[in-house]
Symmetry: none
Subunit: 209 residues, 4 copies
DNA sequence: AATGAATGAGCTTTCATTCAT
DNA sequence: CATGAATGAAAGCTCATTCAT
């Protein structure tokens, strides 16, 4: 039940605050282990071994195991959402904005931060209420961008249902890709973005040609 | 972090093999606790307390905690898939068959077996490889029904992308509903089924009028 | 710094609730170890070893190490104070009552419960505020008996200072005996009781002839 | 259980070797923390924080945490005993000498060095045998003064019991004052000295008028 | 079948001490 | 002298599982 074959830390991607500082190295290792083994099944000794330090040393950088988990989530959100917000600035039409959001969310899940994003979804309940709130606050702005974009499209009759519900269905379709999408397969990320766009705007051809 | 306010067992739904036998009562309690607390964070003592027996007694019915988890999953699959297969028998067109599959999967996730289905998704990694295989074998027939139906629709040009990928996106959208759908809200299960149908068959109006 | 040479449990006295039940055996061992090593320097593994069980098994009987400490204190108080109260019933004069209190307190400190009473004094600060209150409540009745008796003697001019202060000085003199009194020496417990009486009632000869 | 509200170092009294040198500041802080939290429950980080340095820096001044403890005790003894010895020089009669000893011991316990003296009593067992011996050697001269004085008084029939035992009872009564005496209350240190004198010399009036 | 005391390995976290800078 | 990251042994406590009754 316990996955013992670990990547070496060098194979785990570096991005944003998850750099080569001691703190960053711990967070990268944690994102990986929490993803493949689960948070509860990952011991601080597992984590320390992968980082290459003693387990006691972890507590110089983080006050508790939970603080490591919440930091993984916060860094993942910060890194991805800031990138997406930048791209949103340059998108003019609601259609373009939707594509930015879909592609951005797919990239966050399927790219280098995928493991951290997966942890964000699957280990949510491992967080105390206080920590959940810290993370929720970070998400708010991002989710508002989605709802605003889908509402614009709704006024154009491009989206057939209320923004809130439609966002939820799309969020599920996108989140689930982590379970089956393989970057080395025939389906490119562009192709996948197109597929989700087709789901999001059913009568796409009427609007986009 | 630990949810201590527990339903009483009487509030947890009875269905199929999760009846009022000792075994059934354990599985119902387990589905509930594994759903709200997670498998790792649920102790056998938590489980025994909710069932109203001593923790040692659990091991007369199940050989291990993992066996309880895998049984929850198996019973959930057996109960839901057999019901869906029956309904499929009576559906003539691929469109009707798709609607049966979508409504059936939504019911399994949002109805009385919802907690067990959620456990099936979220605690998958807690299973050893052997147990995962036992469950996968049960799922095969069911997934084949989905692929066959979507392929039929693909030949009618009603579905724009390969069945495998399309099934995955729909599976995600449906699975995710457990996170946000509230039966007491304004959206009925019929309404939700319609929304997912709209995603599944983008140019629905051309085919279904 | 750590005392490693331990008595065997059989040498540690049995009294009251500290009987041969599992709970009683833990409390007797704890009183001994907390006395000779101190509470903080005694590990639950030390304690379990002396009892002859595994360290995890301690937590079937007590919810925490602190709960063991507070139980040692409570049982010591209950056992000694009830014995003293019984003897007080049969003492007619305030002089006789004072002698009962002095002898009783000396016996509690120098007799079989001496280690537990010492723990009560010396490990007081190891207790959380809540646990301190639990113990204080038990002590109240007993201390009231002392004050009442000394006040009676004050009205007879046998005690030259206010009861509160006099009690405190005597309490110190008595408590301190655990540091130097040796039952195998020439001074008997009766003799020691006489000495403390002489301190308590300076012009004793005027009253007691 | 852990006291976190700390005095600032400025409030902790300066005396003797516990001056404003780095070494003195550590010892003053240690006396305070060891007194209110206990030696074991005080971490070197607690101590360093109160002093205003980093924990590693403590080890430039003291070779170990135990060395800090033993130094607190030694300085307390040296400072108080030298002061008392000076006063003894000027006391002519055994009665006067006894009063000097009682007042001096009360001052050491209730005055600026009270916390250090309390540590001397209550953390004695935290010392290794070697360190205990170092401190015992310092005490010897002082205790000899007590015994000699009480023996003189015994020859005058002013003290009714052997000096050794009487000293022990008085030592307890005096030591215990730290638990209940409040300098801001109605009882002055002179008054308290009188009370202990009354205990020490029961038929005081016959000798002192 | 059911009990519940006992197990014992393993968990997260603490902390005095070291040492390169 | 001072720093503060790192150490690593040991702490209190948890918990799935066993088994005599």
């Amino acid at each position: 039940m316990k996955v013992r074959k670990l990547k070496s830390l060098a194979e785990i991607p570096v991005m944003g605050a998850l750099d080569d500082s001691p703190r960053g190295r711990v967070l990268r290792a944690a994102a990986h282990l929490f993803h493949v083994q689960g948070y509860e099944r990952t011991t601080v000794r597992d984590l320390a071994r992968l980082v290459g330090i003693q387990s006691g040393s972890l507590f110089h950088h983080f006050s508790s195991k939970e603080e490591i988990l919440v930091s993984v989530m916060e860094e993942a959100i910060r890194y991805n959402f800031s990138r997406i917000q930048e791209n949103l600035q340059q998108a003019q039409s609601p259609f373009a904005r939707l594509e930015v959001l879909i592609r951005g969310e797919l990239e966050s899940i399927l790219g280098p931060t995928g493991e951290a994003m997966s942890v964000l979804v699957y280990e949510w309940d491992a967080l105390s209420a206080d920590c959940q709130q810290r993370v929720l606050t970070l998400r708010e702005v991002y989710e508002a961008s989605w709802l605003q974009t889908l509402e614009s499209l709704g006024q154009l009759h491009a989206v057939p249902y209320p923004a809130f519900f439609w966002r939820r269905l799309l969020a599920g379709a996108i989140a689930w890709t982590s379970h089956w999408y393989r970057p080395e397969g025939s389906l490119t990320l562009d192709g996948l973005t197109g597929m989700v766009m087709a789901m999001a705007i059913p009568k796409q051809s009427e609007y986009l040609n």
